[in-house]
């Protein structure tokens, strides 16, 4: 396989889907870093394991599988948000617990379906369908070639919705991230924004699962924004820089994966490594600049 193949009809759709999702993640990552939601993102991504297990248990495939994972992520996000708003439990404690609980449920459900196959009620529940064995390495690290051509439209649509939502609620979200309590006094509907952000993050995570996997998607949800914030102190510039950095990582990783070693390298890890290097570079740039002033 050569670089030329990477832009051929089989590979262009996943690349386009990846670029669209990367843009959405990069925009969200600025909010995630500023509002300090990175750990919540971790919690929601790990909830995805629970969703994968649930989908396998219910023998759900295709869209139904995606929906099961999405609902599991949303459910976890809501529980995190509700616990975070109460004064009884510290939010990082709540996330730490839900994270492992969701993973446990996921693996457990995935294992149980094998042993339940003989049970009458289980066959009734799944209507006799059997989901293929769960490929945990794909769940963990993703495989961009799993993106179906219909996923491209979903990815582009989802990215457009995220970008549009951020644009329409720009002033509210920025105030919310800057100082949540004060923004509430000034008439910002903070509860609505909080849940809206969590829903967008959960939806993006499900779509990115095939792209980067549940662990590596956190790279796209944190690194572009974190690096861009080191590059500029103007919010508009930060948002643009974040998208550019994300796309450099995505496209660069894609080309390297298919061009360097005959297409034998996985895309996800290379994307993440490029993003990490870009982050290191922006730290150096930031240091150099502040040393000069």
């Amino acid at each position: 396989m050569t670089i030329r193949d990477a832009f051929g009809p089989d590979f262009l759709p996943p690349l386009l889907a990846g670029m669209a999702l990367t843009a959405a993640c990069a925009l969200l990552s600025v909010v995630i870093v500023l509002k300090r939601l990175a750990f919540i993102g971790q919690g929601i991504t790990h909830a995805g394991f629970g969703g994968v297990g649930l989908a396998a248990f219910l023998a759900a495939t295709g869209w139904w599988r995606d929906l099961a994972i999405f609902l599991f992520c949303i459910g976890t996000a809501v529980v995190i948000a509700v616990l975070g708003r109460s004064r009884k439990v510290m939010i990082d404690t709540a996330i730490g617990i839900l994270l492992v609980a969701a993973m446990g449920v996921g693996f457990l459900l995935d294992q149980m379906r094998i042993h339940l196959r003989g049970e009458e009620w289980y066959r009734a529940l799944t209507a006799g369908r059997v989901a293929p064995p769960t490929q945990w390495d794909a769940v963990l690290f993703g495989n961009i070639l799993y993106l179906r051509s219909e996923d491209v439209w979903l990815a582009v649509g989802c990215a457009a919705v995220v970008a549009l939502t951020l644009a329409l609620l720009y002033k509210e979200i920025v105030f919310f991230a800057f100082d949540e309590t004060v923004s509430r006094v000034f008439g910002v509907r903070t509860g609505l924004l909080h849940y809206l952000l969590l829903i967008m993050i959960a939806a993006i995570i499900v779509l990115c699962m095939k792209l980067l996997g549940l662990i590596l998607v956190n790279a796209l949800l944190i690194i572009p924004g974190a690096a861009a914030l080191l590059v500029s102190r103007r919010l508009s510039t930060v948002l643009i820089a974040s998208v550019i950095l994300g796309e450099v990582g995505m496209v660069g990783g894609y080309l390297a994966a298919f061009g360097v070693w005959g297409g034998r390298l996985p895309v996800g890890p290379i994307v993440v490594l490029i993003l990490a290097l870009l982050f290191a570079a922006s730290i150096v740039l930031n240091r150099l600049r502040s040393a000069r002033t």
């Binding site: 500023l34 800057f178 004060v182 923004s183 008439g187 102190r233």
Partner: protein
């Protein structure tokens, strides 16, 4: 029913009595975070329009809790609070309250300019999904002018000194064209020159914007500098009247000794 009850039976402050023109009515409000431990106990207080009221009290005396109740960030366990005849929540939604939070160190990296922070003040007035109109943008520009930092408008807010950041937050509150201005510990971390400047600024602001002002502080200097009335809060409201005749020295002494139990006027030692 509120009319008959004074915050202190033997002290008939006119401010404890309800009038229809009140900016803020706090009516027998009690609040506890933990069941059984009351932070506020039957607090009744009425702030007439145009007044500048200072609330002092020791740390843990319930000042910031009362503030959060008036701002609608908490709901009272018992009693009722209204701001210009509305619930605190409604008053906030209608941009009637301008809030200057306690100055905490602004995240240096937060990529916002001074002008952008001040324009946050008009977010509620503009409404969701809309761009700010010319009128609102002008209000923000005027507020920036009023607090004397128009020349810093383009600077990142993290680059400013504490006193300058305080002014930015004051401008943000004024940009909302509020009717009630609430300041939480405005002088913390500001030197004496800055404090005097701030007092003059608050005077000018009060005149220009025809505001009712509520200042909460554990520092009596902040209150004396710019208030017509003083209330002392330590779980209950202990004193609530004009600080006429009270010198800075007297208040400072009272504060050092026993703020909570002392009535300053009329029945003082």
């Amino acid at each position: 029913m509120a009319e008959k009850h004074c915050c202190q039976q033997d002290h008939h402050s006119e401010l404890a009595q309800h009038h229809s023109g009140d900016a803020v009515c706090v009516d027998h409000v009690s609040f506890s975070y933990v069941p059984g431990v009351r932070i506020l106990e039957s607090v009744t207080m009425h702030i007439p329009r145009g007044t500048r009221l200072g609330i002092v009290g020791p740390n843990g005396g319930g000042k910031s809790t009362l503030l959060k109740l008036i701002l609608g960030l908490l709901r009272p366990g018992e009693g009722r609070i209204s701001v210009f005849g509305r619930t605190p929540h409604q008053a906030c939604a209608a941009s009637m309250i301008g809030y200057v939070p306690q100055r905490h160190d602004v995240e240096i990296a937060f990529p916002l300019s001074v002008a952008q922070v001040v324009r946050q003040g008009i977010v509620g007035r503009t409404g969701m999904f809309r761009r700010a109109g010319a009128d609102d943008r002008r209000a923000a520009a005027e507020a920036l002018e009023q607090v004397g930092i128009a020349d810093l408008a383009a600077k990142p807010v993290g680059d400013l000194s504490g006193g300058q950041q305080q002014r930015v937050f004051l401008a943000r509150a004024l940009a909302a064209r509020p009717r009630l201005l609430v300041l939480d510990e405005p002088l913390v971390g500001i030197d004496e020159v800055g404090q005097a400047k701030f007092a003059r600024l608050m005077d000018a602001v009060h005149r220009t914007y025809e505001l009712t002002v509520l200042i909460v502080s554990h520092d009596l200097r902040a209150i004396v500098a710019g208030c017509d009335q003083v209330a002392c809060l330590n779980r209950r409201l202990h004193f609530h009247d004009a600080p006429a005749g009270l010198t800075r020295e007297v208040l400072a002494e009272v504060f050092n000794h026993n703020l909570a139990g002392v009535a300053l006027q009329g029945e003082g030692p």
